[in-house]
């Protein structure tokens, strides 16, 4: 009986200890599964690639040499610079065209369409994301090839046929198609939050609809525009399927070059790793810039 009730003095100490344990244990329990996952499948492989990239000319099954920066210097050779430039061009082009195509759509769904249709319209737009990207690329082959759907239609209305497949325009079309839903989704989220009374206030002060758009709508949704553009840019930069299937030999990109180093004829794992590291670095810098300067309202508030 007497032992069942602990002495009152020790009580606060034990509960304090328990509190301290739970203070460390709870985050550990909550974060451990995903942390372990990231450690095994993201951090470890990245470190491995970093190591490989520092061994010049590392090839599978060959004796490895010492550490050096040879792989990184190789990137700046004249034959590889156009590949990097082309990758940036495709990513930038896909970003611009999906912004130009996506903004009016997102604006229409968020501001002008009847509220009860909004969710349905969004789902209709996101639907292509639920099919495999490989499948979508093959569909574009069927459309763009010389005897494809596009040229059938052009021929039917008396216009000259276009040979787009296996050339850069096909890559831009395919990338834009792939990443447009992301652009629309993020822009929609941003435009939907836009206070419509600000548009009225702008008109009230004498702004034409065009002036209101450039002076209020665009600045107010700039964080969303920046985030959407960055996402499309990064996704396009790393995309492999579209340039591989639609781009042909003239559309060599960094991702295809990396693929070739690991699984193609050259099997130069060291060079592939250095290219990968450069790609990861570029993307990281872009994200860091977005976090620092993207949401200026949030920054000024704090």
């Amino acid at each position: 009986m007497a032992t069942s009730t602990p002495p009152p003095v020790s009580r606060p100490q034990s509960s304090g200890l328990r509190y301290n344990v739970s203070k460390f244990a709870e985050p550990l329990v909550l974060l451990a599964p995903s942390g372990l996952w990231l450690l095994l499948l993201l951090v470890a492989p990245t470190v491995l690639i970093l190591e490989l990239s520092l061994i010049p000319g590392f090839r599978l099954g060959q004796l490895a040499g010492g550490y050096g920066l040879g792989n990184y210097l190789q990137i700046f050779q004249a034959i590889y610079l156009p590949v990097i430039g082309r990758s940036l061009f495709f990513a930038f082009g896909a970003m611009c065209s999906s912004l130009i195509l996506g903004f009016p759509v997102a604006y229409w769904i968020a501001v002008m369409a009847p509220a009860r249709w909004r969710n349905l319209l969004l789902v209709a737009f996101v639907l292509p994301l639920w099919t495999s990207s490989l499948l979508r690329a093959y569909a574009w082959i069927a459309i763009l090839r010389p005897s494809g759907v596009l040229n059938l239609l052009l021929g039917a209305i008396g216009l000259p046929g276009q040979d787009l497949l296996n050339r850069p325009p096909a890559v831009l079309i395919g990338m834009t198609y792939s990443f447009l839903p992301y652009m629309v989704l993020i822009l929609y989220a941003s435009l939907e939050k836009l206070d419509k009374r600000l548009l009225e206030a702008s008109a009230d002060l004498g702004a034409t609809p065009q002036q209101t758009f450039w002076k209020v709508t665009v600045p107010q949704t700039m964080p969303g525009i920046a985030a959407a553009c960055l996402l499309v840019f990064i996704s396009s930069l790393g995309d492999f399927v579209v340039p591989e299937l639609l781009g042909g030999a003239a559309s060599m990109t960094v991702s295809r070059l990396i693929y070739n180093q690991f699984l193609g004829a050259t099997l130069n794992w060291g060079f592939g790793s250095s290219l990968s590291m450069i790609l990861i670095l570029g993307v990281s810098v872009a994200i860091a810039l977005l976090i620092k300067y993207g949401d200026r309202d949030g920054a000024t508030l704090t």
């Binding site: 206070d195 009374r197 600000l198 009225e200 206030a201 702008s202 008109a203 009230d204 002060l205 004498g206 702004a207 034409t208 609809p209 002036q211 209101t212 002076k215 209020v216 600045p219 107010q220 700039m222 200026r296 309202d297 000024t300 508030l301």
Partner: protein
């Protein structure tokens, strides 16, 4: 002194209307928000549209601003028909209920927004923005962003932004609704000062009757999409035309009944519960014998005495007095005044407002007498 300034200014108000509404209707998805409104808002006037929420007052303002197009009828500003004229081409500026300041711009740039659209010269913008900010006492915070300002400060910026284009008409959509009581009182005084200084037409939408009474030259009381009465604050308060206006503006006691006897200057009314009330009808009264009538008596016009006093305190007037016995049911202490609820013998409840004097204190549940002059009540058509 300020009284004479007010008088002069009011006499200066021209009779030519600045804003006119002609039989304006507005229907939203089959629901009629505004049902045939006629308004003449005079140049330089402080005009209020007062009504409970959902009465169509904000819709009326939005029809003037151009954010909504009327389903029927016509809006005229400065004599020009505004049908089909978009908001950005109308010579009015609005102070929004939620301020609607541009969060991505500083206070300075918010105020300069309208001027920059008009392609004003840089020097002109500098001068007028700093003038406008000084006018609303916000010149020291011009580099801040709206999110860094308090509600009252945001309100001042919204005012400066609306005034900078020097519009002939300024529309104010419940501009003080979000402020606390003390700040609201301060801003009311400032609004009134600004209006006198600038001499432009102010159209204020509000549900706060005190605000409308204290600020306005004229008030339009709206209910259910219609204008019930237009008049000066004293007209609206002293001679309401409908039971709704009598009830909405200030407190009142309303008795529904029938006209029992009708003389040239006196009506005898019997309420549905059998109370007999003598009423001196206003000049505009045109009800007939046997017709339905609503009698309105303001709580402050009713005298209250304990039964032992009898009517000794009653003022001697030539108008007949209404005198009833009852029981004190509820006392609410308001500081300067005391609010009583008296249950009459016929079962009707009467609110009475008396100045707070120690000698006039009466205990709860004691029998009391209430009396008021026939000239102090109004006969209204239901």
């Amino acid at each position: 002194m300020s009284q004479t300034v007010m008088q002069n200014r009011r006499s200066e108000i021209e009779t030519q209307p600045d804003v006119e509404l002609r039989k304006v209707f507005k229907v939203f998805n089959g629901e009629t928000a505004v049902r045939g409104i006629d308004l003449d808002i005079r140049k330089g006037e402080f005009f209020s549209i007062l009504g409970p929420s959902g009465c169509g007052k904000t819709t009326t303002l939005r029809l003037i601003a151009g954010f909504e197009e009327p389903t029927g009828g016509e809006v005229l500003i400065c004599g020009q028909s505004m049908n089909g004229v978009p908001a950005h081409q109308r010579p009015v500026n609005t102070v929004f209920q939620s301020y609607a300041l541009f969060g991505h711009l500083t206070v300075w740039d918010n105020v300069a927004f309208g001027l920059r659209l008009k392609k004003c010269s840089h020097a002109d913008v500098q001068q007028r923005v700093s003038e406008a900010l000084t006018l609303v006492k916000m010149d020291s915070l011009s580099r801040r962003f709206p999110a860094q300002l308090s509600g009252g400060q945001q309100q001042r910026v919204a005012l400066a932004r609306a005034l900078i284009n020097r519009p002939p008409v300024v529309l104010l959509d419940e501009p003080l609704g979000a402020l606390d009581l003390k700040l609201r009182k301060e801003m009311q005084v400032e609004l009134s000062n600004l209006h006198q200084k600038l001499g432009v037409t102010f159209v204020l939408v509000t549900h706060d009757q005190e605000e409308a009474l204290s600020l306005s030259d004229r008030i339009a009381v709206m209910n259910g999409g219609r204008v019930e009465q237009i008049g000066t604050p004293s007209e609206i308060y002293e001679s309401p035309l409908t039971p709704f206006v009598a009830d909405f503006i200030g407190d009142t006691n309303l008795f529904q009944g029938k006209i029992d006897q009708s003389y040239s200057a006196l009506l005898n009314v019997v309420t549905h519960k059998g109370l007999k009330i003598s009423v001196c009808p206003q000049d505009s009264w045109n009800g007939s014998h046997g017709g339905d009538v609503v009698v309105s008596v303001r709580p402050e016009k009713i005298q209250l005495g304990s039964q032992t006093d009898g009517m000794t305190h009653a003022p001697k007037t030539r108008d007949p007095m209404n005198c009833y016995e009852g029981r004190l049911k509820h006392i609410m202490y308001l500081g300067t005044h005391v609010h009583y609820v008296v249950e009459l013998l016929t079962g009707e409840n009467l609110t009475v407002l008396q100045p707070n004097r120690p000698e006039s204190r009466i205990d709860l549940y004691t029998p009391v007498q209430v009396y008021w002059s026939a000239a102090d009540c109004l006969a209204l058509t239901p």
